[in-house]
Amino acid sequence: MKKMISTTLATLTLVAALASCGNNANTSGAKESETGSSDAKTSDVSTSSATDVFKVGAIGPLTGPAAAYGISVKQGAQIAIDEINAAGGVTVGDKTYSFEMIFEDDEATEDKAIQAYNTVMDKGINVLMGAVTSGSSIAIADLTKADGIMQLTPSASAENAIKNDNAFRICFSDPEQGVAMADYMIDTLGKTKVAVIYNNADEYSTGLGQAFEEEVAAKGGTVVTSEAFATGDMDFSSQLTKIKGTDAEIIYIPAYYQDATYITKQAKEMGITLPFIGSDGWDGVLGTVTDTTTVEGAIFSAPFSASVEDDHVKTFVDAYKKAYSDAVPDQFAADGYDSIYTFKAAMEKASSIESADLIAAMTEITVNGLTGDNITFDASGAAKKEVRYVKITDGAYAYA
């Protein structure tokens, strides 16, 4: 019996290996016909234009701890692609293109990102959407530059993810968001003494916190105390006790909503009545707090929130819910959606599908997206859009 099981399993393994080999043989066969040289890109483009398919290569985590981000981007982008294809595709010159996305998993690790990138390149993509995470984007930045392919990252917020001139991004960089929040706090809310609680084991939280503190100091405000915590912490009493002993007027928490939930709850228990401000990681906080009064009046910067009343957002959220069994799209999904529309705008502006022309057209386009009404791009590759603030009022999100 045991022998039989192991024999069957061994056969299964063999079959799986053979099947994958067969598949691989196909792709490498296709590569051969394009001649193995690295400048086969131009022939790639002309073959795919004959079939009128515009191939968007995408890489991001579909497995592993960061999988949620990659899956959101993929699903959001797919909604945009379905919309565009259903509306008849994109007209470029006398040709009409329909979008097709090839998404490869990079597990949010840098070495896998290189392999994923080369895999999508084997499939003859026109442009690259990715990577979803910052580290992966940096790891492939020089490769996309060498290939001369347009790279648009939906959500890599590290500053040097777009250091090359062929790379653009939809989301704000971490420092941009921190600076914007500091300006908003001082100019609009009129508070100058702030306490900061940030996660020093997390790149996003640290990046925002540092930029925020620098901007507050530059604008003449004071950071009365800056308290750190680590990923997974649940007890914030020591940080909050320290803050309670200061003359802070407001508390800034650049972190994810799970952390914000614990911090705001414990703050209320300790009798701290200071207002909270946060970052886009706060989106979703109302779903995790047991008592919405703990976050009442909190304001956070948010490029996208599925819960606000807005026609454009509503259409997207409805389509998303319909396609993905009632899942609520997050900011990553909106970033993926806007990425596809950015490609569309660049194609129409450039009247071309060549990466070089698309890159040149990027600074001239305006995209009416979910994460901003009139998104434009500057020469550095950063998206220029107004920062939106969401205020929690009566237990619901609303744009401030």
Binding site: S6, G36, T119, G135, N160, E203
Partner: protein, 324 residues
């Protein structure tokens, strides 16, 4: 038995390596490899080094180590800091980086070697696990390593364009470890694994040898780290966590404890497999896990034993015929 450097065994190994090298070189130059396969060549090389060096600790010495990725990260970070801070020309920077990466990892191998003298089995495994987490945390909080943002802007010296060099380094390391195992020291390692009390009774300094194995394994893991850093160009502490250590341990176990050839084959299979399974999209990692289980079962099955027996029988017959 007198050992010679130019033994029959070594000549065969070198011949196999040379043939492999020519084969891959032809595939690359002829354009027969897809870009995906080319990008996987360097990970193949450093995973082989990692598996072979861990095999020295786990398979040969018989101690369970769960912190091998930490040695790799030390090699990677120390060499990357060197190449990014001193912008030397590549032909000077790379050899120096390899030496620095190896030595830094070896130094920490020596430090971890000290508790090794006192601990055994499960206890040692936990210590090495803790050691790996400590190294990860240090890289996370040191300002010079870029913290959680990672260390980026590392010059790319060991991409597949430099395949020849990376292959050479891998081959030399494999041959060195193979020869070490065939040497007097290798026999001592085996003696310690099989019965450390008996080994001690015959006058073998068990502690010294255990530390030596750790230092050597750490040195080579450090070199693998150098290759990793200069292939990827960005280092993040989170990538060198216990998951990676366990992945390498899986390679060693799959290859058969103590078998260098087996470790190499297992490293190649386990590195290639996730790439080959890409066409299955959503089911990729599920299939990977299933294949892994199947391979482990096969490794322990009577089918494999029979196959090996058969091979040995036919070998015996052959040698008998030759004897006639």
């Amino acid at each position: 038995m007198k050992r010679k450097l130019i033994s029959k065994k070594n000549i065969i190994s070198v011949a196999i390596i040379a043939v492999l090298y020519i084969l891959i070189q032809v595939l690359i130059n002829g354009g027969y490899l897809s870009r995906q396969m080319m990008s996987v060549i360097i990970p193949l090389c450093y995973n082989v080094i990692m598996a072979v060096s861990l095999s020295l600790i786990v398979g040969v010495l018989g101690e369970l180590s769960l912190g091998h990725a930490a040695f790799m990260s030390i090699g990677a970070y120390s060499s990357a800091l060197f190449t990014t801070k001193f912008e030397l020309p590549e032909f000077i920077a790379l050899p120096l980086a390899l030496i620095i990466g190896g030595l830094c990892a070896a130094a920490l191998g020596f430090i971890i070697g000290i508790p090794v003298l006192r601990l055994k089995g499960d206890y040692l495994a936990i210590v090495t696990l803790g050691f790996g987490e400590i190294i990860k945390s240090i890289f996370n909080f040191l300002p010079i390593t870029g913290g959680s943002k990672g260390l980026s802007g590392i010059p790319i010296y060991t991409s597949y364009r430099n395949f020849g060099l990376v292959f050479l380094i891998t081959a030399v390391i494999v041959l060195l470890i193979k020869n070490l195992l065939d040497s007097r020291h290798g026999r001592v390692f085996a003696a310690i694994r099989d019965n450390s009390i008996a080994a001690q009774a015959t006058g073998i300094p068990v502690g010294t040898y255990k530390t030596m194995a750790f230092v050597i394994a750490a040195f080579f893991a450090g070199i693998a780290g150098v290759l990793y850093a200069h292939n990827v160009g960005i280092l993040k502490p989170g990538n060198f966590d216990y998951n990676m250590s366990i992945e390498i341990l899986v390679m060693v176990v799959l290859g058969g404890m103590g078998s260098i050839g087996g470790s190499i084959i297992a490293a190649v299979i386990l590195t290639l497999l996730p790439e080959l399974l890409r066409s299955f999209a959503d089911y990729r990692m599920l299939l990977y896990a299933i294949v892994l289980i199947a391979l482990m079962l096969f490794n322990n099955s009577s089918l494999k034993k029979k196959l090996i027996e058969k091979r040995q029988m036919s070998r015996q017959e052959k040698s008998e015929k030759e004897g006639e």
